[in-house]
């Protein structure tokens, strides 16, 4: 029988290797490429019926005071404009469109999104609040679900730590992607992050459930072997479930439209990470906690009074 638990420090190391590059990228500004949902501003996608250049668009925009807009050219004469807020209820939008038509040519508006600065701030705040709420909600739920177990808060805290690990993996990946291919995060990304958090706990609970059951069944055995048994028993199931979700999400990321691609990718990264963290993080953390190794680690760091 494989002893996974014995290698727990190896798994902590692996987690660190995965998470550190992302963290580094997050800390160095700009950590994340924020979309208009957070910064406020306008995203405007226009398809012209004849070929034109970004410079031509910039010309028109500058004449209306939006000269510092970013313009990305896409296939089929499609352009994505990112500018300061252009309110659709004011004449300015109509004027710019009229100018596009007269100076460049006929066009079709594919999409237009404009976010005012107050709303942008709010989305940011609400995102943090939502993440906090989900974490607290889950902590309470776990505390209640495992209330009959000794020191049930340990389960909750280890689950939350694994969950934070997953969140940072996703954030790290998107931070790096933001640097390389200018991927932006928006409120849909936050939605994916929250879903990942929910799913990560989903997974962890199944493992902990088994641990709880085995603790009662194999009373007296050392915790490390209880955890080992539980892991070996639930591993097949954890992997299978994650596999089915990974199948559907991969299909979505590969074949679904471009608007849901990033969304599916965020979910994909998060769920892979979530599966890994349930088996190799949350459980190992619980072992370290329950066996008191944590405290021993600290005692060893303090020279005086070390009992080893």
């Amino acid at each position: 029988m494989i002893d996974i638990v014995a290698r727990r420090y190896l798994f902590f190391l692996i987690s660190a290797i995965i998470i550190v590059p992302g963290l580094v990228s997050l800390v160095i500004p700009p950590g994340l490429q924020l979309g208009v949902d957070f910064t406020g501003g306008t995203l405007w996608e226009i398809k012209f019926d004849q070929p034109t250049t970004a410079a031509a668009l910039t010309g028109v925009l500058t004449a209306h005071g939006f000269g510092d807009s970013e313009i990305q050219a896409g296939p089929n004469n499609t352009f994505l404009i990112r500018a300061k807020e252009i309110r659709p209820d004011l004449p300015i939008k109509g004027e710019i469109t009229a100018d596009f038509r007269s100076k460049i040519g006929s066009l079709t508006e594919l999409s237009f999104q404009s976010v005012g600065p107050t709303v942008g701030n709010e989305v940011w705040q609400r995102s943090i609040e939502a993440i906090g709420l989900v974490s607290v909600g889950i902590l309470f739920y776990l505390w209640w679900a495992f209330r009959k177990v000794q020191r049930s808060y340990a389960y909750g805290i280890c689950a939350i730590l694994a969950l934070l690990h997953d969140a940072f993996v996703v954030l790290g990946v998107f931070s790096i992607l933001g640097r390389i291919i200018h991927v932006e995060i928006d409120s849909l990304f936050v939605t994916a992050l929250l879903t990942v958090i929910g799913f990560s706990v989903h997974d962890t609970i199944v493992v902990f459930d088994r641990v709880r059951e085995n603790s009662i069944r194999h009373l007296g055995e050392p915790f490390t072997s209880i955890m080992n048994h539980s892991l070996l028993q639930t591993m097949g199931r954890s992997l299978s479930t994650s596999l089915t979700v990974i199948f559907t999400l991969s299909a979505l990321a590969l074949f679904g439209g471009s608007s849901t691609r990033l969304f599916a990718l965020a979910l994909l990264v998060g769920i892979v990470s979530g599966t890994y963290s349930s088996i190799f993080n949350a459980s190992m953390l619980l072992v370290v906690w329950e066996t008191g190794e944590f405290r021993r680690l600290f005692r060893r760091l303090r020279p005086a009074g070390a009992t080893g």
């Binding site: 309110r87 659709p88 209820d89 004449p91 300015i92 109509g94 004027e95 469109t97 009229a98 079709t108 508006e109 594919l110 999409s111 237009f112 999104q113 404009s114 976010v115 005012g116 107050t118 709303v119 709010e122 989305v123 609400r126 939502a130 989900v134 889950i138 739920y141 679900a145 849909l188 939605t191 929250l194 879903t195 929910g198 799913f199 706990v201 989903h202 609970i205 199944v206 028993q233 639930t234 097949g236 299978s240 479930t241 089915t244 979700v245 199948f247 559907t248 999400l249 991969s250 299909a251 979505l252 590969l254 074949f255 679904g256 439209g257 608007s259 849901t260 969304f263 599916a264 979910l267």
Partner: protein, 479 residues
Amino acid sequence: MRQRNLRMLVGIILVAAVATYIAIPNSPGIHLTIFGVKIDQDYPIRQGLDLQGGIQVLLEADVPAGTVVDSGSMDAALGIVESRVNALGVSEPLVQQASGNRIVVQLPGIKDPDLAVRTIGQTGLLEFIDAGAVPLSPGTVVTTTLGGPSTIGNVGATAITASGTVTATTPTSPATNTAPNQVFTTVMSGSDLKTATVGFDQTTTQPDINFVLTSSGTKKFSDYTTNNVNKFLAITMDKKVLSSPRVIQPITSGSGQITGQFTLTEAKNLVIELQYGSLPIPLKVVNSSQVGPTLGAEAVRQSILAGIIGLGIVLTFMILYYRVPGVLADLALLIYAAVTFSLFRLIPVTLTLAGIAGFILSIGMAVDANILIFERMKEEMRSGRTLHGAIDAGFDRAWTSIRDSNFSTLITCLILYWFGSTFGASIIQGFAFTLALGVIVSLFTAILVSRTFLRLVVESGRVRDPRLYGLDEVKEGAK
């Protein structure tokens, strides 16, 4: 035992049949009469804005920061916006009050979103002002005795696009774009209008607006025109001059026309702005999102393709890995998909791209409960239970895990729904709702449907080889 399972099976088949009937594309709906009760329902799919195109805006009271807006004014504004939206003739619009002096408006399938936004969001204060001896050119921003541009909200400093010369008379020289420091007297306002309709100017055949005044308005108008022949009367909308006709003779009939360089659509929209009164508080757009119709159709096609591929892979995997129970779980999964989708049609749930993604995600998660149960069953069989006992034990033991883990997903969905509602992001709310619905339905199909199928198969006594249940070796007593 057998009887009960068979009855369950019949029930399941019925539900599955009805669900499939409702769920398939181009479903004809249900039109029949049972015991005198007539059911006449079509079940179209409600498409969200990102699928059929349209606009969503978040309007907010445009007052200086810190000003308290009383709920009466907000309610009145909401009512006016709602009336205007309905007058636009959009099918299935949405107008809702949101927290913080805000109103969410959704206009699916609207042809000219920008014009529509201006129509519903602009204050719509019509004024007839005394311009004196010099006509004002259209587009001039004025301050009247009813207030200046700031009372209208952010009117914007640029001129309106409806530019042109003064239509009714030939002016000497047009005034400048803004008439600063001069406060014009308001003779009448939109509240003095009884009706306003779109018409066509007899001479120029341009669209114009015919209005009829109330009795008090008729008196005001008649008094003014009698005393001010040969002076100019400027007609302004939201402090911007529309036209500046000269008073040729006293008008006692209490009716007249407003001319300007309108297109027919603009005239119609102006009438909508006038019809229900002007907004008691100015509104501004703080968040808007519009999608053209072409993007949506393509995205749906791709999402459906992705969904089918994903479903296919999951179905194959289940058969390969779990064999006989896998086949049964696949059947349960197909029933799950049909039931969930028919619920989308029945409720109805407005489908967005994110919602479709949620549905596809829930397909992957729906098998989770089944997998939990099957793994338990395998364990029970390995430890010597009979096949029959293993099924029951598997379901019972797995239930707590299933319940706890799905519950955490539901908590997340709840919070996601709240998150979306704070800034009118119906797309996020749609995702949360479809995911939650999917989780709940999957609980039912896993417990009821899979269990019934499994029990029936086992009871029929035909499929006994444990290898068909995914076990690698035959155990003692595992029959």
